[in-house]
């Protein structure tokens, strides 16, 4: 399971048609433990920069991360 730290994030209110049902949703760039960065969707509780997160699932090639304590 991939883990990392939130490098930056936003909550999207205006989305293309294919994501319209998800609005508002949170997108983050996560600095993965090990060095790479990854753009992910955040599930559950909203996150802020420097929060620790872990991968919860992967759907349609998109990683969904959740806040960890």
């Amino acid at each position: 399971m991939r883990r990392g730290t939130v490098y930056t994030e936003t909550v999207v209110y205006l989305a293309p048609e294919r994501f319209a049902a998800d609005v508002p949703y949170q997108v983050a760039i996560v600095a993965l433990d090990g060095g790479d960065k990854l753009t992910v969707r955040i599930e559950g509780e909203r996150v802020s920069i420097d929060d620790r997160v872990a991968e919860a699932e992967s759907r349609d090639g998109v990683a969904y991360f959740r806040k960890t304590t």
């Binding site: 930056t8 936003t10 209110y13 989305a15 753009t39």
Partner: protein
């Protein structure tokens, strides 16, 4: 810089920017092209090559093969006509190519045009087309939109440097106050800091007032070898420096998203070519697709130290009467942002200031100006330095 010829701009023309139901893509481009020719007092037959900047004409309108589609309508059948695509820096990239075609001696007289017709699509579809300038397989697939990419830049800039929400709003307030005086601007109204702070959220922390507009419009310039400039009608403007650079398309590939390395690289080269530095530049048109982009650009160009762009803006440093006037035209925020036209339009706006033809927006110091055009979240950048004697 090698031994290239000097190049001058001898004609500039723009359409108004806005939502124009009755004007299709070609009509807009032809209107700008004719204005540039008339401004140069040049016949279409004088143009030897045509460089078109356009981001997504096929997606917005269905029409492809746009450069000859437009150049023939301008009465320029027969000459090389090619479209350049570099997202929102498309006509900056076209200008860069056109400059070197003249500087190298291949042609004496060429035209650069930029055009985009966007309002024919509903906003969610526009958002989707614009997202195509990002990395579709990764960041876009995860739900990133262009506002969201710049929102993430803003969040990190706020975290690292203490940039505040009201600093972003101050950029929008200033650009609207300039655009209100621009007869060609799409949104000619002033806004208050409170309005800008409390706009409808688009991608936190950005509100509607942090985002540039969805626009139709076109712009064109005629470039020529400087030693032939006197053959044309309008006061020539010297192209002192122009440079283009590139970077990763995906924002998450960049080590630090609070700076645009392509902008820094293009600026360094353009300054060296022109033999000037940031302190010499008297005014600039910067690519404020989102308020944070103007703040990062002024830092990357060296107008202000890193991290201080938001504070400088909030303190009034970039107003028309400030030490470094930025976007006296109203910028993309108020003037409008027909993406493929923006690079050429910025050059037209700098030319207008240099010729002292900017009316109520005319700046006190106007002999050396800079235009900066950004594509995507920083994957293409073009910096152009223009001057008059």
């Amino acid at each position: 810089m090698r031994d290239f010829r000097q190049v001058a701009i001898v004609g500039a023309g723009k359409t108004a920017f806005g939502a124009f139901d009755g004007k299709d893509l070609r009509t807009l481009a032809v209107e700008a092209g004719r204005k540039a020719l008339a401004n140069a007092n040049a016949a279409p037959e004088a143009i030897e090559s045509f460089y078109l900047g356009n981001f997504a004409g096929p997606e917005f309108t269905g029409q492809n093969h746009l450069a000859p589609y437009i150049s023939t309508a301008l009465g320029m059948a027969g000459i090389p006509s090619t479209r350049y695509e570099a997202a929102c820096a498309s006509s900056g990239a076209a200008f860069f190519q056109a400059f070197f075609a003249v500087a190298s001696g291949v042609y004496d007289v060429v035209m650069v045009a930029g055009v985009e017709k966007m309002t024919c699509q509903p906003t969610p579809r526009v958002t989707e087309i614009l997202a195509g300038a990002g990395d579709c397989a990764t960041e876009v697939n995860a739900g990133s939109t262009f506002p969201s990419l710049f929102a993430m830049i803003a969040r990190r800039h706020m975290h690292d440097f203490g940039t505040k929400r009201e600093h972003l709003a101050a950029v929008a307030v200033k650009n609207h106050s300039n655009g209100a005086l621009n007869p060609d601007a799409q949104m000619r109204k002033t806004i208050t800091l409170e309005q800008a702070m409390n706009g409808r959220p688009i991608a936190e922390p950005l509100t509607l007032y942090d985002c540039s507009l969805i626009s139709d419009g076109a712009a064109a310039v005629v470039l020529c070898a400087a030693d032939r400039a006197r053959e044309f009608g309008a006061k020539p403007v010297k192209v002192l420096g122009v440079a283009q650079a590139s970077d990763f398309v995906a924002l998450d590939r960049k080590p630090d998203i609070t700076t645009f390395p392509a902008l820094r690289a293009a600026a360094r080269k353009a300054y060296a070519m022109a033999g000037v530095g940031p302190k010499d530049i008297q005014f600039a048109e910067l690519h404020d697709c989102f308020t944070i982009a103007e703040i990062v650009a002024m830092e990357d160009l060296g107008f202000i130290e890193r991290g201080r762009g938001g504070f400088f803006s909030f303190e009034g440093g970039t107003r028309r009467d400030g030490p470094m006037p930025i976007n006296a035209s109203g910028g993309l925020k108020s003037k409008g942002h027909p993406v493929g036209a923006t690079g050429a339009a910025q050059i037209c706006d700098v030319v207008q200031q240099l010729r002292a033809e900017a009316g109520d927006r005319q700046l006190a110091r106007h002999s050396l100006g800079l235009a900066q055009n950004l594509g995507g979240s920083g994957a293409t950048c073009v910096v152009t330095i223009l001057g008059v004697d």
